[in-house]
Structures are given as structure tokens and as C-alpha cells.
Symmetry: C2
Amino acid sequence: MKKESLYLKIAKVMEEQISTETLKLGDKLPSIRSVQKLYNVSINTAKQAYLELESKSLIEPRAKSGYFVSKASMRKFPLPSIGKFKASAQEKQPEDLISKVFNTFEDKTISHFSLGVPDKSMLPIAKLNKGVINVVRRLNDDWASYEPVQGSVNLRRGIAKWSLVLEGKITEDDLVITSGAMNAIFNCLMAVTKPGDTVAIESPVYFGIVQIIKSLGLKAIEIPTHPITGVDLEAIKKVLPQLNACCFISNFSNPLGCLMPDEHKIELVRMLTTYDIPLIEDDLYGNLFFGPTRPKPCKAFDESGIVLWCGSVSKTLAPGYRVGWVAPGKYKEKIIRQKLLQTISTPSLYQEVIADFLEHGRYDHHLRMLRSKLYTSCLKFQRAIEEYFPSNTKISQPQGGFMLWLELDKKVDTAELFDIAIKQKISFAPGRMFTQYNQYNNCMRLNYGLEWNAQVEADLKRLGRLIKAVY
Amino acid sequence: MKKESLYLKIAKVMEEQISTETLKLGDKLPSIRSVQKLYNVSINTAKQAYLELESKSLIEPRAKSGYFVSKASMRKFPLPSIGKFKASAQEKQPEDLISKVFNTFEDKTISHFSLGVPDKSMLPIAKLNKGVINVVRRLNDDWASYEPVQGSVNLRRGIAKWSLVLEGKITEDDLVITSGAMNAIFNCLMAVTKPGDTVAIESPVYFGIVQIIKSLGLKAIEIPTHPITGVDLEAIKKVLPQLNACCFISNFSNPLGCLMPDEHKIELVRMLTTYDIPLIEDDLYGNLFFGPTRPKPCKAFDESGIVLWCGSVSKTLAPGYRVGWVAPGKYKEKIIRQKLLQTISTPSLYQEVIADFLEHGRYDHHLRMLRSKLYTSCLKFQRAIEEYFPSNTKISQPQGGFMLWLELDKKVDTAELFDIAIKQKISFAPGRMFTQYNQYNNCMRLNYGLEWNAQVEADLKRLGRLIKAVY
């Protein structure tokens, strides 16, 4: 306990320096070694102090140059609260609410802050179309029949090569192509669990994962999730013996946008390996990082094959293509069998188009632009919310992806607010969608993956006014 | 019992006339009214006698002109036996055998009598390619994002219009697009059953259906299936109270190629309606009929919405597109929810290509050619088998589709024969794949959906020789 208070004390001093602007936006912080000497503490304590500041998003590391005061440190609104561990009986599922929100998607006159994909203005659609025509001409008659169950060799080779972040850990042979990442998760859960099993998930959690879990007759345990550092490892430790699988979005989870630090990933994989518990890792946002480098997935630290690493291009390139994949580790044969009996094979054409896109560096080029657009959009959304929303709003600090999670005054019921907002052609995702319990009723998820313009700003302003009007 | 022997007696007399060629191939039979007068029996008895002859494929009805001696009446080899009702404990699943057969598909030097799709030489691939390019150009940027969960409106409208056989029973709103028919069946089973439930299936049965059933923790009851008239209704009646669902290929089932007569379909739907048991009807071969008209599905006789009618273009047009559908009757909302959580949506592009193909009559045109090719190929295969296979071979009499089911001498183990044949670059589907019990070991399924040529004939000759060699 003594050691803990020491690093917290140091962190607190520096937090004060940042809030009083003794340390200004962009300033370089003293090196960890200087902190060690200055406070006469161990290297570890100094490191922990910086980790604490980083976890609050006050400082950020830059490759090979140390720590800097972050832009996020300038935020006015605090972070949303962390969910409590719930063991209460299962409550009414929010399926009707989810259906209601989904049913508005086709109306193009609505501002879709509720969508789970970036707006198509951010996607290279003309290039993809050209790609389709090229592939049709090239493949001739080879694409109309069933292809290998595991998926296109070209695409698998492309994904393996391009997954630099895994440092050569996977080859084309380790991958299975699926119909999007959700289908990968569905297959993974079918392969590693049986009805009645228990799966740990984040909280708040992407509602699709809860629905899959329920549909397979599984139980979900919601693990409290920190808006910056992700799932709480201590909480997982407590329930480890009950778990049959974990299913987490380790990088920029949906809806919180949190990023598990490498240390947490390493510890998580270590714990799960000991108990031989499979980790279904949904890494579909990993390439949408705002920091200096692409964060590693847990898969990078997995030596025994317990991590089933899932990805897709649905959130970054072509949602409608339904091209995803999984590197299922030691569960590969099971996954292939699952896929065979559920869908036989994945359509070839789209796979080849994506393979081309990867091979010619076009995907990297597109991702660079997309990340920069998303980061700008994120800052503008945050600023607008700080300006137009009630002053007691809490707001997440995503480090990637395109989702904001907002916690409003306890008196606001966002499911009711949705009905009011939709009449004004504004849509968002009410918090109740993201949990199996009766909680997050005063929260909402906003998609900022769209081009910033006067209309968007006006809509956020109106939304802020609607919120202010309800209490 | 008296009545039964009466119609059988009449049928036997006429069977004799056919076998002695008193009634020759193509001859018109006396009208039912003449039979009634001639034998002094009721109309019903006369009808039953003809139904008996039809069920043996000795005669065939032609629209508005009565009954004729059929080509099939000239067959030399008898029909395969009907499976027995098995209640024995579950035996080893044939998954390894299935994987072994599937693993040979990529080798293009092998004669693939084992495939479950027509050869691509029978498919209009150039036209489909042109269709893809047209759609990409037309849709511009509308196809890269998620589309309605239920699937493309154009495609659903096309299928509804073109399902003349349902006589206006379904509209675009009744359909849900899936990733092929297998995926439709998977969704249907997930929607209408829970683990531990019991599903009635054919026997022999398409192995994919057994695998899905097992993977969902369901039990399968194999219903004895007549090679001409399909599932035995009496057998179903016996197990009705135990059933939670049925899953049948009513038109040209795989592997038997049998066709349930309308009377059977009506009676089946009636029985299941009484017990409120859903019928998952896989009608993916229905358009590949050799008779005068497209047979009706059970769905056509369903008034209460218990039939989930599944179809696809995988067996007739574009296997690799993975475009299928289901008209789920009263289970529609459940199916939409299932689809949403498993795959979000189906890729738009292929759906639009198929919709175009339907709209401009190209599909009908293609089907007419395909049916004629398949029928010719079927006759040539049967003739070759009669010539080259042992004389105690039994052979099915498909009335549509592109599968032949062969029963060989009891001493032949077709799983062993497969290993020998594959070394000689000939592949077929061993009978053991098509059941959950230890039976059909001396059976095989042959795909005749390929262009007849000297190579095919030579391969059948070699296969016949291999069979003769093993006993």
C-alpha cells in the first residue's frame, strides 16, 4: 500500500502541474530516470506514476522521445464512470430498443450518430468499384464456384503479410476468412463453448456480442471496463474459475474507445493461458489508432494458441463486403468445420478485391487518411459537446475508432430521449443497448465517423438543447 | 386391406403389360375413368393404381393429356432399398470421411462425381460477369455500406414475382435473403429449436443438414425415404409427438432425387399444422425438374405459416455467390433477428446481379437449357452405369436435380473404394456420409451435373471396373 500511494502522490503533483498549465499542451515531461532521481524512488514507481497519468489520458508517449502533455489533458468534461460488477438476475433484454434504432437506418434524412460504421464519404468507394471490375475481368470463370472453405489464398496471404503488428506470428495457413467480424465471433463462440457456458465481456459492451451469446444459450458476465484502459483485470481474476471463454475488443472497444495497455494484455493472456480459457479477441478497430503506432493485439503475446484473433474491413474499408477473418490459434480445425456447415464458403470476388487493395499498399494509404479524418472529427465532436451539452456531461476519451460514449445527468433517460430526437431527424445509440442489465440508461453512443460540417454541428447543438430540455 | 390389394392388383397387371412391352415407351395409358369401368372399381382405386405405377416411375403424367409409359420404365436396374427406421444409439459421425472427400475438391485433375454443384461449364458465367460490371457501374456508391437486414428489395421482389409456383402466396416482404440455402437452414433451425430438441430428416440425407443439427445440440431422427416419393408419411406419423421441427428437401432431395407427390405434401403440412411443428423446406433443386412443370413446394399448401421455405441460386446459377433466401412464415421476425446478429447483412452486389438476372427473364432462359442438359446427362449416366457397373447394382430414378444414388453389392465398402478410386483420379461421395448411423456403406452418390464426354464415360467405366474388382 505504501508503494501505491507513492506513485499516486507523484502522479497527483504532475496532474496539478498540467491543470495549472505549469506543464502546457505538447510540453515534454521529464524522463522517467529524472523522476526517479527527483523523488528518490525506484524506476518502477516512476513508471507507474506515468502509467497512471497516461491512463487518465493526461500524457501520451511518443515513439523514442518520451512523454508529452496530451491534447486530451485540455478536456473540460470528466470521463464517464466505470460500471459496477453486477450479479443481479438477468433483466429484460434491450432487443426492442435495438430494433427500433436499426429500423431508422434506411431513412437518409436522419443524422445517423447511431451508426456503427464510418460514413461512406470516408471510404474509397470509387477505387473499390474499379477493383471489382478488374477482378471480374481477371478471374474470368474462377470465382463463380465454391472456393476453399478457409477462404481465398490471396486474401489470407495479404492479411498475414500486412499484420506487421503480429511480428510474423501468423501465416496464410493460420487464417480463416469469415463473413465479417461478427460472423467470426459467432463461429468462435460456437467452436469453443457449449450451451450453459459462461463468457466474460466488457461493460458497456457492443450489443451484438450479447445477442450472439444469448442466442447460443450462453451466460455473459459483464466485466467493469475503464474508459481508458479497458477491462478490469482484478475483476476478471475474481471470476476466472467460472469462465469458459472471454470475448473482448482489446483495441478501441465499442462503445468506450478504450485501449488495453500492453502490460494488461500480457497479464490477461498469462491468466487465461493458466486456466486454458480461450480469448476471442475482436480487433476490428485496431488500425484506427490516434497514437503513434498500431497497438498490438493480445494475439501478439499468445504462445499457446488460446487467442482467436478476429478482424475485418467492415469498419475501415467496405462494410457491405462482409469480409472478415479469424486466426483461431489451436481452435483452427473446429472453426473451419463450423464455417463449412454454416455457409460452405465466402464469395470470392470481394475477397480478391480486398486482397488487391492490401497488396498494392492502397489499404495503408487509405487508413492513413481515414485515421487523420477520424481524429479531427473526434476533437470537433468533443469540442461541440463541451459547448452545447449540459455542463455535467461526462465524455469518453477514445484513443482510436469512431465512437464517443457520453454519460448524462441521472435524470436523462436516453431511450426516451431517442424517441424525441428521432422526430427531429437525429439518431444516436441509447446506453441501455450496451448491457444486459438495467443500467447506462443515462448514457449514449455517438458515431463521429462522418465529415464535419455545419449540419453536423447544428444537429449536435439541437441534441444538446433536447437534453437540456428534459430535466 | 381389401381395397389396398385391389389397386395393387390393377397396378401389377399394368406393370406386366409395360415389362412385356404390351404397353410401349411413350404409349398413352387408358384414362382413369376407363380403368374404373374396366375393373369395376371406384375412381379412387383407379387413381391409386396409377399413383403406384407413377411412384415406381413406370408411368408419367403429362399436363392435360393423361398418363404415358415413361422412359424410366425401360431401366434395367432396380431402385435402391428404403432405409429402415433406426432407433439405435448414435454412432460415430462420418466427419472425417466428409473432410476427406471435401479435401479433394481443389484438385482439378480429378473427375468430381462427388461435387454437390453442377460443373461450371453448365453455368452462364460470362453473362454473370457482365452483370457484375453493370451493377457496379449503376449502383455507384450505394452498395459498399450495410443494406437492409432483410436483404435487397430488388432481389426479394424478383424472387417473389418469379415464384409462380407459390401462386402469389409470398411478397417481397415475406422473404429474408441469406448467405446460401445452408445458411437459411442454419438460421431456421436456430430460430425454431433449442438444444436438446428433435428434428426429423430424410434418410439418406444431405450430410450438411446432419452436421448443422449436431452442432446446435439437436437430435436427428432419420425418416425412411422412398427413392421416388420421398419421406414415408406413416413413419413421420409415428414420431410426430417427439418432433420439434422437420427439415426436408421436398423436391428432388439430395442424394435420392425423389419428389414428394402433392398429396403427400398436403398431408404432411396438415399433420404438422395440427401439432404446430415447423417444417424447414429446402427447395433448392425445385427448378431442376425433368417433368412437365415445376413441382410445388409444401409452402404452397401452408395456410398457417409453419413452413419455412428455403431456396438459393447455388445449385442452378452461381454457387460462389452465396445468395439464398427463406420465406419463414410466422417465424419471420425471429429469422431477421438471427441474421442480424450472425452476419449483419448480405453483400449487396451479388444480390443485385441476381435480381437483374431474374428481372430480364435470363434466369428462366438459363434454367430451360440447364434442365435439358441435366436430363440428357442423367440418361447417359444411367445407361453407362447399366453397361459398366455390376449387374446387381441398384440405381435411383431422379425426377430432377443432378444426383444419382447407387446401391452396390453388400460386400462393397464405398469408403474403402473411395481411397482406391481417388488414386485413379475419380471421386464420388460414399454412402456413409449421408446418415448418422452405420448404414449405406455399400452406397454412393454420383453428380451427373457435368457435360457428357468421352472422358466422363471412360471414368465411369473405370469406376465400374474398380467396383467389380473388390468382390
